[in-house]
Every structure is written in structure tokens, then in C-alpha cells.
């Protein structure tokens, strides 16, 4: 049965949310303009409308989740983004896999932020909420799904499948509901993907807060007062966006196959750029609060970071990136709407800023080289240039689109080697930044002249030289560029730690945010340098091809082919592939795939052998077991050193019908390095192509070859009981026992020959690892020989890549310290704002 109620409810609520957003904006506008006597009633009215808006937004989200949760595959969204096999936490991921869900998430966060702002502000409530409600109207319009004539506004997630699909089945039976959905992109089936998008969208949503305060400030002619309430939110935004970026990087590191945490993909750049600008704006705002400079710069930066978030959304979701990104979204026909959204706020902000520009106070005094303002300004400029350097090439597809829309032809493409291209700039900018933070922090806490500066910097400088020298020697960093990076990183950490210790001695914990964040930056720099610069691919192919073109010498073969059970030397390790495994619910270890027979039931299989792990039997032969996501296979790879098993990794891979081979690496984690193993290609397990029949006559005790394997025919016996066939009176069953040696593994194959009356039954014995099927074709009693028929196919193999990533934990620890620093700073700045507000000043 088709349930149209939920969808209609959701759609209705989207319309309600859209209308109430516009009403809220208008009524808050009247609230601002109203005379004092009418303000209270306008405020109550505006708040009520916003509450209705909030309820409607939540109802939209609940409706969509209800559709996914109850597997209502009559809806396109559930059909195309989820399936019955998904556990609940991945259903949450399905919710925002589609763009519509992502927009819902975004405006949901805006609602939360809006509610917080209403209740924490007095003076600013009106102007801020006008901006908020306008943004909400634009965001809700993205999922409105209203068609007026040829004009389509938004793409509704509440469309029924039959209205979207042209499948003929709907003409025969309009009430047809598909059995199952097409599932969630397997790359997103990861716990980090459950929490990464909400974090990122909270980051996106929170960039609106400082922007709204700024717009309010300009409109209300409070050119400077907006900074205090905006500052804690700007830091909050930078922290959450930063956290989102790190989670994305971590997710890429643990699940994606490009072997790293950052790939300079346009989608990644699109978040990185607004974050840089937001961080720059925090610095100029702090300077302004201390010394009344850099207000205009702060205004430009706050507007830029907000508009850049919209630009990022446009880049990622309009389809303009096309083939230049590995994970851009497809165009839902929203690009026009997104463009209007972005241009609207860009134009409003620029017009407002330009109109009020001459009224904005600025300091005419030239900043001295020995002032903190000067150094922080240079730091903010560096951040701005970093952002500029990334956004220019990332926008190449946009230039092409613009040129083409005017009828021209542009064949510009993004740089072929993205990582190399961006790194050569960003690395040096980051080094400059690291040095600036060291110096800047000293200026910040101490008034300095030339002499003081020298005195206070000498000690940290000497210590960092010593520390850097130690890192360089121990880490064997012999590249001059990397030495500079280590030195800069060490200096940042030491210089800021000196400040941190001073502050801690004074017991002023509240003020430690800056130094903590900067220590994090230094550690990130060192961690990135080691883990990327010294990432060592150990799976270099040494197979030595017989025929090779000369240019192939230049190419590193970074993948190795591992045949099952056959050892291969990879640098310091000897590795052996041990076959395909599955994860079975309730069993602590992975279970070999050939012990399980898939059934029609979802994620269910029948055990073909007893399932034993750690000396305990979990399931007996014939039991039905639950597989944890049956599509996923885990490839067991053993790492040996000096004939001793060091560890075993299980990189995952899933042949996905719509996306090809999806692989997730497995890593051996050490404190100082990770060994990362990733599957690049696998055997075809679905329908093996058996080669033509071959025959062999052998007597008991004979030895022969099957597919180069030494096969030993131990003997035959008459058996009275068979595992799969019930024996009847008069049946004769003969079992031949064959032993096949494959390196250190001994395989037993026992085909059966069954005589029942005049009929003969042959039960073959198959070994999937070796790709061998053996049958007893005939028994020749007079010669005491058996005729074996055997077929072979591809022996099991896996193609994989492995690399060592040193010091990656320094990077992760650095990011955590940086986030703690941000949190401390938020607390401090919010505290300041609260004190001023309670004094009735704001």
C-alpha cells in the first residue's frame, strides 16, 4: 500500500516553513521599526511565527526520516538512498546522502542557532533574526518542490517513486511498491559519515551568525558594536567547521582509497577556503577589540566567509564541477536557485558595506612593526592569500562555464597533479603562518620593543632549534624543505608553549585558547610533513616483467598481486594473502567465505562447516547465521617478519553494482606510524569461468598435477553416510581422498561417486581458493584406477597497495589540541559578551 500521508505532511510542512520564514523576516523588520510602546507585541508575534517555523522545519525532518526508517520505498528518496539491510545509524546517513536531506539538515541547524540567539540577545534579536529568516527562506525553498508553469522551485524529497520514474511497471500498476531500495553508498557506511555531515553543516550554518550580527550592525549603524557578540560565534564557527574538516579527513583516511587524508579535491577545498577566511576574521576582530584597528578588514572577511560557504555549496551541488571532482553531487536543477541565493546575499552585503563605508571608524595611525596589530594583520593576510591560492584554481570549471555561457570555448582544466600543485604553495604559507604565530603571541602578551623581543624570543628559539635537530636526526629528515617545516613547527609549539606556561602560572586558564590553538597548528604541520612527505609505499612491484617499454621504468608500480597462500616480500615484511572472509554477527573473528553459503534471505547465510573462533564453536554446520552487511568481504593479509607472524590485517572490499569496487583500507596502528593496506582489485567471485574438462587416471598412492598443484591421491573408501544426501538401501557411495599442497597449506578434496541401482551420481568437490573442482568420472576396478575429471579457474588472489605513514598521530593529536584551544577561546569571548549584555549595554 502506498502511504501518501507522510509525504504530503512533509511537503505541507516545507511550505509552512517557507511562508513562516518570510513572515518572520517581515515582522522582525517591523519590530525594529516599531515605536517603543509596540515593540513588545511585535516581538511576541515575531517569536511565535519563528517558533511555528521551527516546528515546521523539525516536522519536515521527522517526515523524511519516518519514510526512510519505515522503508517506504514508494518514495523516491527512500528507494534511492536506503535499503532494508541498513542498520539504524546508517539510515541516519541515508537521510543526508541526498542533497535534499542535506539542505534539511542545514536549515535544521539554522533553526537551532536562531532559537539560541533569540534567547541570548536583547538588542540584537531583531536585526539578526531578519537576516536569519531570509536565509531560512532561501534554504527551505531548495526543497519546496513547487512548480509554477515552467518554473520549478526546489526539489522535494517527498516525491513518490511513480512520479519520478518512467518504469513501465507504474503504468500497469500505479500502486506498485519496490521490495527494497537501492541502498546507501557503501563509502558512506562508516561511523564517521554519520557524524561528519551534521558537524560540517553546523559549521556551515554557524557562519551565518557573525554575518547576521555584521549585517545588523551595518543596518542599525552600530558599526563597531557587532564585534563583541559576533566574536564568540565566529570562533564557534571556525571550531565546528575545523572539526568537520578533520572528520572528513579522518573518514577519507580510514575508508577511502586514495591513500591519504587530504587530496585537494574541489569538494574538500570548498570547505577549507571559508574556514581559512573565518580564522582570519577571528584574528582581525580580536585585534579590533584590543586596539580599534582592522575593523574594515574584519567586515570584509566576515562577509567573505559567509559568501564563500554559499559559493562552496554552489560549486559542489550545482554540477558545475562535473568531471573535475571525484565526489561532486549531480545537478538537481537547483543551480539557478543556488546562484540567486549566493548573489542575493553578496549584493546585499556589498551594497550595505559600501553605503556605510565612510562611517566605519578606522584608525589612521600606522601600526608599528613592534606592535601586535602589525603581526596579526600579516597573519590574517597570509590566511587570506592561502584561501585565494586555493579558490582560484578550484574555480576553473566555473570560468569555463562562464565563457561557454557567452558562447566561447574554454578548454582550461584543473591542474593535473592537484596534490603537488597546492602543496607547493600551502606548505610555505603554513610555515610562514607558524612562524608568525610564535612571534605574534609574544607581542600579544607583552609590550615589546626591539630589545625585549630579542630577549624573550632567544630562549624559545634555541629550544626549538634543539628540538628540531632532535626530530630531524631521529626522523631521518634529510630534505632541506622538510627541515624548514620541522623547524617552523617546533618553533610554533615551543614559543606558544612558553606563553601557555606563563598563563597557567598566573592561573588565567581562560586566556589560553590562542596558545593552545597555535600549538595544535605546529603539531599539525609536523604531522602532515611526516605522514605525507615520508609516506612510504612498501608494495612496490618487483615482479620484473619480461617485456617492458622503456618509459615504464619511470612508473612506480604501487600495487602488488598476491596469490593465495603464496608469500611475497614487501620491504621489511613478508606478506601472505589467506582468502576472503565475512563478518558474522556474534563471532569475534572474521569467518572464511567458503564456510558460508548465501541464501535468499537478507544478510543471512548457512554455515557449511562448524564456525569456530578462539577455541569455541559459535555455530554448527547447517545453522543459519547473520552476516554483517553481506556485500562486504574482508581480505585476510598476514604480515611476517623473520618468519614470525607480526599482525594480520583485513582490508575490506565490496563489489558494488552501481559504483564498482569499493574498498576500505585496514591499518596496523603504532604510536609513531600506521601501516596502511588497501585492496585495489579482487577476483571475480560471482560466476567463475571454469575452464574445459581435463581428465586424469590415478590409482591410490599416485601423485599428479592439477593446475600446477601437486595432488596426492591417498585412497578411496566406501562410506555409509553422506552429509548432503540420504543414502537408501542398496546404495554404494565411494569417496576418494585427495590432498593438494599449496605452499604451507594442505587442502583436502573428497569427491563422491554414488551408485544407486543403474544410476550413477557424482558429487564434485570444490576448492574456491585454488579454483579447483574435482569429480570421480569413473572407477576402473580391473585396473584399480579412478578417472578424475577436473576443472580449474583463476586461483584466488588480491591486488593490494600498502604504505607506511609515519607520525600520523601527531597530526590527529595536533588537531584535537587546536579544537580545545578554540573551545577555550569561545568560552572566554562569550563570557565577555554576557557580562556586557547583562550590564544592559547590548
Amino acid at each position: 500500500m502506498i502511504n501518501t500521508f507522510v509525504g504530503n505532511l512533509g511537503h505541507l510542512m516545507a511550505i509552512v516553513a517557507f511562508v513562516t520564514a518570510i513572515i518572520t523576516a517581515i515582522s522582525y523588520y517591523f519590530y525594529i521599526k516599531a515605536p517603543l510602546s509596540e515593540k513588545a507585541s511585535w516581538r511576541n508575534f515575531s517569536r511565535t511565527v519563528f517558533y511555528i517555523h521551527a516546528v515546521a522545519c523539525v516536522a519536515v525532518a521527522v517526515s523524511l526520516f519516518e519514510i526512510i526508517y519505515n522503508h517506504r520505498f514508494e518514495y523516491f528518496y527512500a528507494f534511492s538512498h536506503s535499503s532494508k539491510a541498513l542498520p539504524v545509524h546508517y539510515m541516519i546517513s541515508s537521510f543526508w546522502e541526498g542533497q535534499e536531506g542535506a539542505f534539511i539538515l542545514w536549515f535544521f541547524w539554522n533553526v537551532v542557532l536562531g532559537l539560541v540567539l533569540i534567547h541570548t540577545n536583547k538588542f540584537w534579536e531583531g536585526p539578526v533574526m531578519v537576516v536569519f529568516s531570509l536565509v531560512q527562506a532561501f534554504l527551505v525553498s531548495m526543497i519546496l518542490g513547487v512548480v509554477i508553469g515552467d518554473l520549478k522551485i526546489g526539489s522535494s524529497p517527498f516525491m513518490l517513486l511513480r512520479d519520478v520514474s518512467e518504469a513501465p511497471i507504474f503504468q500497469i500498476n500505479p500502486d506498485f511498491v519496490p521490495e527494497d531500495g537501492t541502498g546507501l553508498n557503501p563509502l558512506l557506511q562508516n561511523i564517521w559519515m554519520v557524524i561528519h555531515p551534521p558537524t560540517l553543516f553546523l559549521g556551515y550554518a554557524s557562519t551565518l551568525v557573525p554575518f547576521a550580527f555584521l549585517m545588523g550592525g551595518l543596518a542599525m549603524k552600530k558599526y563597531a558594536e557587532w564585534v563583541r557578540p559576533a566574536l564568540p560565534w565566529a570562533i564557534f564557527s571556525a571550531m565546528v567547521l575545523g572539526m568537520g574538516i578533520i572528520m572528513g579527513a579522518y573518514w577519507a583516511y580510514v575508508t577511502l582509497n586514495f591513500g591519504g587524508y587530504w587530496n585537494w579535491d574541489p569538494v574538500e577545498n570548498a570547505v577549507y577556503v571559508p574556514w581559512l577566511v573565518m580564522v582570519a576574521s577571528i584574528h582581525t576582530m580580536i585585534t579590533y577589540k584590543k586596539s580599534s584597528t582592522a575593523l574594515k578588514t574584519s567586515i570584509v572577511l566576515v562577509i567573505s566567509s559567509f559568501v564563500l560557504v554559499l559559493y562552496a555549496t554552489f560549486l559542489v551541488r550545482s554540477g558545475v564541477l562535473g568531471d573535475s571532482s571525484v565526489h561532486s553531487f549531480t545537478d538537481l536543477g537547483l543551480s539557478g536557485q543556488l546562484l540567486i541565493y549566493m548573489l542575493f546575499f553578496l549584493v546585499v552585503a556589498v551594497v550595505l558595506a559600501v553605503k556605510e563605508w565612510k562611517h566605519i571608524p578606522s584608525s589612521e595611525k600606522e601600526a608599528s612593526v613592534y606592535s601586535r596589530e602589525f603581526w596579526i594583520f600579516i597573519g590574517a593576510t597570509t590566511l587570506g592569500l592561502m584561501a585565494f591560492q586555493v579558490i582560484i584554481p578550484t574555480s576553473i570549471p566555473v570560468y569555463n562555464a562562464i565563457v561557454e555561457s557567452f558562447g566561447g570555448i574554454s578548454n582550461m582544466a584543473p591542474p593535473a597533479d592537484q596534490v603537488g600543485f597546492y602543496t607547493k604553495f600551502q606548505l610555505w604559507f603554513a610555515v610562514a603562518l607558524a612562524l608568525l604565530t610564535g612571534i605574534g603571541q609574544f607581542f600579544w602578551w607583552n609590550k615589546m620593543d626591539k630589545k625585549d623581543l630579542k630577549n624573550s624570543l632567544v630562549t624559545p628559539y634555541v629550544i626549538s632549534l634543539v628540538v628540531a635537530a632532535a626530530i630531524i636526526t631521529l626522523g631521518k629528515v634529510y630534505d632541506i624543505n622538510y627541515m624548514v617545516v620541522v623547524l617552523a613547527g617546533a618553533f610554533t609549539v615551543i614559543a606558544n608553549a612558553t606563553i601557555l606556561i606563563k598563563l597557567l602560572k598566573k592561573r588565567t586558564f581562560k586566556l589560553t585558547g590562542g596558545s593552545l590553538a597555535h600549538i595544535g597548528l605546529g603539531m599539525i604541520l609536523i604531522g602532515v610533513m611526516f605522514s605525507s612527505g615520508y609516506s612510504d609505499t612498501i608494495s612496490i612491484n618487483m615482479s620484473g616483467m619480461t617485456y617492458k617499454k622503456d618509459w615504464e621504468d619511470d612508473l612506480n608500480k604501487e600495487n602488488v598481486l598476491l596469490w593465495i597462500n603464496k608469500p611475497l616480500q614487501m620491504k621489511d615484511y613478508e606478506v601472505i594473502y589467506r582468502g576472503r572472509h565475512k563478518k558474522v554477527a556474534g563471532v569475534p573473528d572474521y569467518v572464511k567465505a567458503d564456510k558460508l553459503e548465501p541464501t535468499d534471505g537478507l544478510n543471512k547465510a548457512i554455515a557449511l562447516k562448524d564456525i569456530e573462533a578462539r577455541g569455541k564453536i559459535f555455530y554448527s554446520r547447517g545453522d543459519t547465521v547473520n552476516i554483517v552487511l553481506e556485500e562486504n568481504s574482508y581480505f585476510k593479509v598476514e604480515y611476517y617478519q623473520e618468519d614470525e607472524l607480526k599482525f594480520t590485517l583485513y582490508p575490506m572490499s565490496q563489489p558494488n553494482p552501481s559504483m564498482g569496487l569499493i574498498s576500505s583500507p585496514d591499518s596496523k596502528r603504532y604510536l609513531t606510524r600506521d601501516l596502511y593496506t588497501h585492496v585495489s582489485a579482487i577476483n571475480d567471485y560471482e560466476d567463475p569461468e571454469w575452464k574445459e574438462d581435463q581428465f586424469e587416471n590415478a590409482g591410490p598412492g599416485d601423485q599428479f598435477f592439477i593446475n600446477d598443484f601437486v595432488t596426492y591421491f591417498e585412497g578411496a573408501e566406501v562410506v555409509n553416510e553422506l552429509e548432503d544426501v540420504e543414502l537408501q538401501e542398496g546404495d554404494i557411495a565411494v569417496r576418494a581422498n585427495l590432498t593438494i599442497m599449496d605452499y604451507d597449506v594442505e587442502k583436502k578434496l573428497s569427491p563422491i561417486f554414488l551408485i544407486r541401482g543403474n544410476q550413477v551420481g557424482k558429487i564434485p568437490s570444490v576448492d574456491n581458493d585454488l579454483g579447483i573442482k574435482v569429480e570421480i568420472e569413473n572407477i576402473l576396478p580391473e585396473e584399480n584406477k579412478f578417472v578424475f575429471k577436473y576443472n580449474t579457474y583463476q586461483k584466488d588472489y588480491v591486488v593490494m597497495k600498502a604504505s607506511v605513514k609515519p607520525m600520523i598521530n601527531v597530526l590527529w593529536v595536533g588537531t584535537i589540541i587546536m579544537l580545545i584551544g578554540f573551545t577555550v577561546a569561545i568560552y572566554r569571548r562569550y563570557d565577555e559578551f554576557q557580562k556586557m549584555r547583562n550590564k544592559g549595554l547590548e
Binding site: 534511492s80 593576510t381 576553473i396 578548454n411 582544466a413 604553495f425 618509459w551 600495487n559 553494482p657 552501481s658
Partner: protein
């Protein structure tokens, strides 16, 4: 000259450097004949070529040769002008490769006959079109 001016000039200088390098390092979309012309004239820059895999009239991909150790392969690609070119890729065959509607290869000619791809981007039929909505109403 004031310090502010010097900094301003410095910023502009860095910005111009960034733009110039971006243009200089940007790759281009080419077809195989222009890519070959570039290689012959000594320009070894990696470029993008958009095209399809060569298919027979049944729609099966032809000319896909996987190396013995399965870690690299060659295939025949037809660019938008219909020019057929053998392309070498130093990675295992991506699993959805033969089903791709469009491929973009990023790389350059290493000799007269072979285009070596450093990277392949594939456009696959979107998930929705691909999945037949099955009529079994069991």
C-alpha cells in the same frame, strides 16, 4: 613610502604570482591529435582527454588488455572526434571501468603510440537509471 603601501604591494605581488602559476599549472582539455602534436613538439605537460571506451556493435568493450600481474592495463579509447587511441594505465582495472559512459584520462604521450594516463575519471550511469525497478511483487 609608507609601510602600509609596501605591504599592499607585497600582497598584490603574491596574488599575481598565484594567478600566474595557477594559469601556468592549469591543465587543458585536448583531443588525442592535439595531445600528440603537443608531445611531438616537446611539451610533456599532462592534459585531459574526454572520450569513451571502444565498443563493438553489441556494446561490449573491446581492446581491454590486462597485464599479467594484474597491476596495470591498456585499453582503447575513442575521443570526441572519433580518434582511437591505446591508453596505458598503471593501476589495476577499476571495477566499474567497462560500464562507464564517459572517461576522462589525465596524462600524456610517452611515445608515438601510447598515451599514458596518470589518472582516470569515470562517469558512470547514475545509480537511479541503472537500477531497474523490478516487477516482482512477491
Amino acid at each position: 613610502m609608507k609601510k602600509g603601501h609596501i605591504i599592499g604591494l607585497g600582497i598584490i605581488a603574491v596574488a599575481i604570482t598565484i594567478i600566474i602559476t595557477s594559469i601556468g599549472d592549469a591543465s587543458t582539455y585536448e583531443n588525442f591529435s592535439s595531445a600528440k602534436a603537443m608531445a611531438v613538439s616537446g611539451n610533456e605537460k599532462a592534459i585531459h582527454v574526454v572520450g569513451e571506451l571502444k565498443k563493438d556493435h553489441h556494446g561490449n568493450v573491446v581492446g581491454l588488455k590486462v597485464n599479467e600481474d594484474k597491476t596495470s592495463f591498456t585499453f582503447i579509447m575513442v575521443d570526441n572526434d572519433g580518434y582511437e587511441q591505446e591508453v596505458y594505465y598503471n593501476e589495476p582495472v577499476p571495477a566499474d571501468f567497462v560500464r562507464s559512459e564517459q572517461v576522462v584520462v589525465i596524462g600524456s604521450y610517452k611515445d608515438e603510440d601510447t598515451f599514458v594516463a596518470d589518472k582516470i575519471l569515470m562517469k558512470c550511469p547514475s545509480k537511479y537509471q541503472e537500477t531497474d525497478i523490478k516487477a516482482s511483487n512477491s
